[in-house]
Amino acid sequence: MTLSVSVQHHFGGFTLDASFEAPAGVTALFGSSGSGKTTLVNAVSGLLRPDQARVEVGGRLLCDTEKGLCLPPHKRRVGYVFQEARLFPHLTVRQNLHYGRWFSKTRGSDAEESRLVEMLGIGALLDRRPGALSGGEKQRVAIGRALLSQPLMLLMDEPLAALDEARKAEILPYLERLRDDTDIPILYVSHSVAEVARLATTVVLLDKGKVLKTGPTEEVMSDPALAPAIGLREAGSVLSATVVTHHDDGLTELAAAGAKLFLPRIGGNPGDHVRVRIHANDVMLSLDPPGRVSALNTLPGTVTSIRTGGGPGAMVQMQAGDDQILARVTKRSAAALDLKPGTECYAIVKSVSVARADIGAGDQSMAKSDTTT
């Protein structure tokens, strides 16, 4: 099922003009605050009535202002998970979960419900009221409530933003399982690169109300032209890697970017796919194969583009195997090394973090692993 969205809306000097397609899986609406992410999601949900819009999901037209059609929220069958859980305080967890069922014509099976309750780990909470739940528990119930309303798509507006790191780590595995278990499009609003790198299949990069780029996560994240919009400190490449083996000295060997990457032990079996993230700031470039350095991870490749801005820095993209790697160096170094497209060089990677582990819950997927020494 695919969601296709096209929205134009003006308010208070801000113009939103965005179109994109979201296939099944997680599509991240990514951008800094004020880029129009929430406005866009609200237009999809019907909570906002845009000046002009066309929203269609799986062949079902939800809104087409040209035809004068714009369904109210309750007729759109969207599951909306808000930043704050917005559970109904006067209902128990079970009643909250069943709320959408009172209004939906198609009713999910009890088996499906118990599977979801188990997946979200909220079985023990069913008879409690929302006031007695922790932030993470509330958000899990909110996700369950949205899913049990038999939605055609799931909208998540920074569902983790109000939670601390521990709670985030508690929920992320559930979101990953959700992504892999359902076939409805999930729109995920976020301004966190880490969340996007971990969850998203597709990224829609928004800036000042416009779509800068839509594409697979690896491609969008590794585009040097988009680094300013993503944030220079956060910019970095996202690579697909395969677990090769676990070594006796505590390191895990991954195959990525046409080379080997070593990380402190992560979960998973040889052959499992993981997604790793390399910050552009954590990459050094060398024209010669590095000799006696402590860095374990050096990736040979070819420079594909160099972007410079007003500042002293330069964002260098290089092709290594099938992947792109971003390196942030100074303009001075780029000139000294005479870097230009086609230059063969080596990326010395100071640290790699596992952005996404398709290995199931319980691993330390978000732990940043430093492999410098």
């Binding site: 909570l47 808000f82 305080p89 009172w102 209004f103 006031g131």
Partner: protein, 231 residues
């Protein structure tokens, strides 16, 4: 009951009946008007707000006289009601209930409006995305959340109705068994020599009913509040 004479007892029973119906009938209107004032912007909102509050500010005698001019047998509305529906307010207990309801109305609207304004519209939005239409959102989310305010408003309205004197006596007079409510009865007993004992007994009844209502409302509101706060 031995404590009260039949005459006194009649007044008490009538007052309870008048207040009960006054509260029950005006409550839905009060919720509607409160929702209008709290949630909608429309032309004449301030005017409506003013009219609703009028009984609170005007001398009760004036309210009673206005009611008489509107709902009396020969008054425009009163005549129409009698001709088409056969309803008579003037000098009947129903008129006492109307007067009591109107006097308590602003108190009810204020309490319910405050509760409505405290409801987080985000919860109502969430209910909408889960498939609930506007009326259903109101019934399943808004109404339960403002229940403490409704209870408080209803008790206030009831207490006001029990104590209403000026508008009632002006509109429907002071007919024993028909329109002689508790305050009118106390007033009457105080006018006749040797009526102090009766008046005192009725005062005691009046105080206990008022206190009882207050305690009941506290208990109910607290219970509802606990439910609403989700603990």
């Amino acid at each position: 009951m031995d404590f009260l004479s039949p005459e006194e007892w009649t007044a008490v029973a009538l007052s309870l009946r008048v207040s009960f119906w006054a509260t029950l009938v005006s409550l839905p209107f009060a919720i509607f008007v409160a929702a209008l004032l709290a949630r909608r912007d429309f032309w004449g909102k301030q005017l409506l707000n003013g009219i609703v509050h009028l009984p609170l500010i005007l001398p009760p005698v004036v309210t009673g006289y206005l009611l008489l001019m509107t709902f009396g047998r020969r008054a425009p509305v009163g005549a129409w009601l009698y001709d088409t529906l056969g309803i008579v307010f003037a000098f009947r207990w129903t008129g006492a209930a109307l007067a009591a309801g109107i006097m308590g109305f602003p108190l009810m609207v204020r309490a319910i409006r405050l509760a409505l304004e405290a409801v987080d519209p985000k919860l109502e939005q969430a209910a909408g995305t889960l498939g609930a239409s506007r009326p259903w959102v109101f019934v399943t989310v808004t109404l339960p959340l403002i229940l403490p305010g409704i209870i408080a408003g209803a008790i206030l309205g009831f207490a006001k109705a029990m104590g209403e004197f000026g508008a009632t006596i002006t509109f429907v007079s002071n007919i024993p068994g028909q329109t002689q409510t508790l305050p009118s009865a106390i007033y009457t007993f105080l006018q006749v020599p040797g009526g102090e004992a009766s008046a005192l007994r009725l005062v005691a009844v009046s105080v206990s009913i008022a206190m009882g209502a207050l305690i009941l409302s506290e208990v109910l509101a607290r219970r509802a509040q606990k439910r609403v706060s989700g603990a």
